[in-house]
C-alpha cells in the first residue's frame, strides 16, 4: 500500500512540492503502477549472466583539453540562468 506519508517522503526525496490534493491522486496512481510493475517478482532468474549478443559499444576516449572558446561558451551558458550578478549565479545563502 502506498500511503500519503509515503508520497510525502518521496516528494521530499525528489525535491518537489506536492499539494494535499495531489497526494491522494498520486498515492492511488503509484499504487496502480507498482502493482503492475510488481509482476516482475514472478520471474526467476537462474543465470545472472549478461546476454550473449555482443555489445557494439566501445569507449570513446579523447584528450582532456578545452575545445571550446571558454569566454563565449561560458557567457552563453550563464545567460540562461534565471538570476545573475555579473558572472555569478545568484542563489539564497545556505549558512
Amino acid at each position: 500500500m502506498i500511503s500519503k506519508d509515503d508520497i510525502k517522503k518521496l516528494s521530499s526525496l525528489s525535491r518537489i512540492t506536492i499539494s494535499e490534493k495531489e497526494e491522494e491522486k498520486l498515492a492511488k496512481d503509484m499504487e496502480g503502477i507498482l502493482s503492475y510493475v510488481g509482476q516482475l517478482s514472478e520471474v526467476e532468474i537462474s543465470d545472472r549472466g549478461v546476454s550473449k549478443e555482443k555489445s557494439e559499444l566501445k569507449n570513446i576516449m579523447r584528450e582532456d583539453v578545452i575545445s571550446n572558446n571558454y569566454n563565449i561558451v561560458a557567457n552563453d551558458i550563464l545567460k540562461e540562468s534565471p538570476k545573475l550578478k555579473g558572472d555569478y549565479i545568484v542563489v539564497k545563502k545556505i549558512l
Binding site: 506536492i18 495531489e22 510488481g38 546476454s51 552563453d76 540562461e80 534565471p82
Partner: protein, 472 residues
Amino acid sequence: MSKKLNELYVIEAKKLLEKKEISSVDIVNACINEIKNRNESLNAYLEVFDDCLDSAKAADTSRDMGNDGALLGIPLAIKDNILIKGKKVSAASRILEGYRATYDATAIKRLKDGGAIFLGRTNMDEFAMGGSTENSGFGVTKNPFDESRVPGGSSGGSASALASNMTLAALGTDTGGSVRQPASFCGIVGLKPTYGAISRYGIIAMGSSLDQIGPMTKTVGDAELIYKIISGRDELDSTTIEIKESKTKNNKIGVPWHFLNEGIDKDVLENFKLSLKKLESLGYEVKEVELPMIKYSLPVYYIIMGAESSTNLSRYDGVRYGKRMEGNDLMEDYTNTRALFGDEVKRRILLGTYVLSAGYYDAYYEKAILVREEIKKDFAKVFEEVDFIATPTAPTPAFKIGEKINDPVTMYLADIFTTPANITGLPALSLPSGFSKVDDKKLPLGIQFTGPTLSEFALFELGKKFLGEENV
C-alpha cells in the same frame, strides 16, 4: 505536377531542387501556408522559426553558387527536446519556458552541414513522458485524421505536422515508442534506430539507456536518407557506435502470436494478418516464434525509465536554466520550482525515486536490470531462426483526447509492442499498413518490424518492398 510542394517526399523535393525546377523558398513558403491553415487547430508546432525563409534563401543562393548538400534546402520539423543553437527549446515543459539552447545537438549539426532548413519546434508530451501529447505544458496536439483524437506521443507534434503536410519530414525521439507509436497513429514511417546509432548529444535526456532520435517521414527512402546523414559515431556521446552495412538475410519473419492475444483491437489484428499475407505474397516466409520474456518488457521499461528519468531530471533546480519559483530559502526555491513539472512527470520522478530507494532497490530496479538481460537473450535466440520480428506497432488506432489521461496504467499499455526495442536496444521500424474505420473516419494503423543490432539497412529494404517503393 499534381502534388503541392509541401506534400512532396524529401527525395522528390531533393530531385526537383537539384534540377532547379523549384526553389527552397517555394517549398518553405508552401509549408508556411499550410501551417497558417492548420496549426491553430492541430497545435503541432509550438513555434515556427522566424528565420526559416532566410535560411531557405541562403540555401537557394548556395545552390546557385554550385554548392550541394544531401538535404540542401529541405525543410524539417524538430521535436522540442532536440537542441538547435540559439533557439528556444522546452521539452514542452513550463519549467524550461524561455530557455534557449546554447549549442547544437549532433544530429542537428549534421543536418545543418547537409543544408537542411528547420521550420520550427514541435509539441510533445512534457519531457517525452506520455503516449498522446496530452501531457504537454502547452496544450494538446490533435490528430489530422480526426481532430477529436490524439496524434500519439510523445513525438505527437512531429507526427501531426508531417501527416498534415506542414513539413516534408521531422525528427522525433523514442524512449519507449515515442517515434513509432505516433507514426502509427498518423499513418507515417517512423524509425527507432539501434541504441547508439544516432548521437544523443544535445537531446534533453529522459531515460539515457533507452533514448534515441529517430526520423519520421512519409517514405522509407526518406527515413533512410535522414538516417544516413545523422547516424554514426560521435565523440560527444560515448555510447555511439560505428554504422556498418548489415549483411542480414532478409526473408524470414517471426511473429510472437502468444504476445498478441489480449487487449488488441479487432481491426488492428485483422489488418496485421492482412499485412502478413502481403509479406508472404512478396516472397517472405512468415513463421511463429516464442519470446517468453517479452511480456515483461513494459514493467521493466517503466522501472528503468522511471529510475533514469528521476536522476536525469534532478538537474532542473531553478538555478542554472529555465524558471525559478522563489521560496523562503534555497530548499524552497528547489521544491517550488520543481512543482512546475506536470502530473505525469511528477508521477515518474516519484516512481523512479521509489524503485531506487533503499529497501525497494533490489525488488524493483535490480530485478528490472536482470530481466532486461533475459529479454535480450530471448531476442538473440529468435534472431538465430528469423531475420525480423513483426507485431502491430500499437494495440489500437488513435484514441480519443481525454480517454486515457486519468488512468496511467491504461495509457502505458499503448506502449506494449514498442518498449521491447528500447529495452533490448534493437532497431525497429513502423510502417503505415492501412486504416481502421471508426465513426466514419479513417484512422491509420501501423506494422512494426524489429531486427538484430544495426540491421537498419535490411529494415529499409523490407520496408520499401512492403510499401511498394521504387529503387529497392
